[in-house]
Amino acid sequence: MKSSPPSDSEQLHMVVRYELLKYLRGQRLFGILMITASIAWLMLALPPLVGMGYSSDVRTFPSTFLNFVSILIVLSATFFGSDAIVSEFQHRTGYSLFPNPIRRRIILLGKYVASALSSLLVVSLYYIIIIVSAQAIYGTFPDELIVSYYLAVVYMLSILAFAFLLSSVMKGTTGSAVLTFFLFQMILPIIDIVLNSADIDPWFSITHAGGIISSILTMPPAMGEARGPMRPTGAAVGIPYPLYIPEVLSSLIVMVNYVAITLLAAIRVFERREL
């Protein structure tokens, strides 16, 4: 029996399929969907339960939800991306996969696509809940919500690509998961704040760029497009230092660049890594 290996694109499809099976069997996908539903339920159920009711402003209602989108994206990257590569080395599964006629870049891209599809499901579910709830409560929803969704998807792709880079470099799955979560949830946001307070525009920061997901709804358009001398001062939004607000186009460019650069770096590291 002498079969030729399938093309790279066919093999990519196979890797995606078996990675998705991993998320389903390992209950990761189910777990994060439960977390997503729980967050949405808390946001919807708590205000009436404590007698507050919902905001009268249709723009304020979804903006509260949007503050949690980045957390969900970071959780998705931790669940699906942080151990994708490192586990092949630490758990020795690479010994059964790598000696097959498949390029390492295809393995990595297949895993990336599978994790992106799973994360997309999480983000989409969350936005569907926001839109349906806004429609049910107010009879409408702001158009910016749709733009925010697209920006959230690009942000998700960039955070996942970064998580894959960390996974390609790290030695252990636990370290990789912890670093992924804290890097995007604490370390980089702290750096953004410090840069802001030093009056330095952190336009190049991925977490700063990701801020556009929620700020698109809360900031007036003039402020959203402002940079440099036109930036809003901290006093304008009640913060005691200057605050740089990300703008749509530059955030999009930064996020797309993060996807390309970190994914290429992840492939490069993975191809050179020895078992």
Binding site: M1, K2, K22, R25, P99, N100, R272, E274
Partner: protein, 312 residues
């Protein structure tokens, strides 16, 4: 005919440690090669380079004439490999794992179901074919490793310690599988610490030490390198001092060690005829022998002799 496995000046350096030092090897198609050497000799490093798990510092490695260092996808297409004791995705079953790896190799669904059934039967895993791999023992995983290597019926098989983790019955079954592969004309490249195993199934041996190829020859030729044998003699009654002294002076006897009162270990140099002479001489000395048994293997004697020389 293209050689099945070729390495040219293959060199691998880890920091300052030279794991492989310009290894040149040519393995013709259809032979079973035992790849031997002490720990750290470079056996696993060679196998890892051949299976694209590790990159060589310099040099080339070819599988079926295709350079594995520059085109691993094409080079590995007709190769099955067992490297160390791999793990499998615990959420998959053996059938699913074989389907995944078979699909990556371009096997059709018909081929896959037929071959999966066949190889799982061969490694005695049929009963667990649809059970999750997660709780499998090391031996069961080793059997599955063999199954995935055989799945696509490759022309070249690379085995790194294929019987590692198996019980005696499993080891015997694996040797039978390797014998069958040899009969089918497959090329088998097998590293092992079990010299008796290599002598039993392989026809050629490559001996590596400190990253260099020391010996590459047919096993039958290697026996001549070391004519020294160890013979265990068990007597009904403990030999006297006089008998021991006379045994030490028999032709070909290098040394005599009394391991227990009735058991002697004789280091002897000579061919089979000389050994028969020794047997007769011991009887003539009045030794009431219960057994006269050469211990170790020819290969083992050769191995120890060559490695000792290499260290000197």
């Amino acid at each position: 005919m293209t050689d099945a496995i070729v390495t040219e000046n293959l060199r691998k350096v880890y920091n300052s440690f030279v794991a492989l030092d310009n290894l040149n090897l040519r393995v013709a198609g259809g032979i079973c090669l035992g790849f031997l050497g002490p720990n750290g000799a470079g056996k696993t490093t060679t196998i890892k380079i051949l299976t694209a798990l590790t990159k060589a510092t310099s040099g080339k490695a070819y599988l079926n004439g295709i350079d594995v260092t520059s085109d691993p996808k094409a080079a590995l297409s007709d190769v099955g490999a067992v490297v160390e004791t791999p793990e499998f995705y615990p959420y998959l079953t053996p059938n699913e794992m074989l389907s995944y790896l078979g699909e990556l190799r371009g096997m059709s669904s018909n081929e896959l179901s037929e071959q999966s059934r066949k190889v799982l039967e061969e490694v005695k895993l049929t009963e667990w074919a649809d059970k999750s791999i997660g709780p499998f023992s090391r031996g069961m995983k080793q059997r599955l490793t063999l199954a995935q290597a055989l799945l696509h019926d490759p022309a070249v098989l690379i085995f790194d310690e294929p019987t590692s983790g198996l019980d005696p019955r499993g080891m015997h079954e694996v040797r039978e599988i390797i014998r069958t592969l040899k009969e089918k004309g497959k090329t088998v490249f097998m590293s092992s610490h079990l010299l008796s195993e290599v002598q039993e199934v392989c026809d050629t041996v490559a001996l590596l030490d400190r990253g260099r190829l020391i010996v590459y020859d047919k096993i039958e030729n290697l026996a001549r390198i070391s004519p020294v044998k160890k013979i265990q003699v068990q007597a009904l009654v403990a030999p006297t001092e006089g008998q021991l002294d006379r045994i030490r002076h028999l032709t070909g006897v290098r040394s005599v060690e009394q391991t227990s009162s009735q058991v002697l270990l004789i280091e002897f140099e000579g061919d089979d005829d000389s050994m028969a002479e020794l047997h007769n001489s011991l009887l003539a000395l009045g030794l009431k022998m219960i057994s006269f048994k050469p211990t170790g293997t020819d290969l083992e004697s050769m191995y120890l002799e060559i490695i000792a020389e290499s260290v000197r």
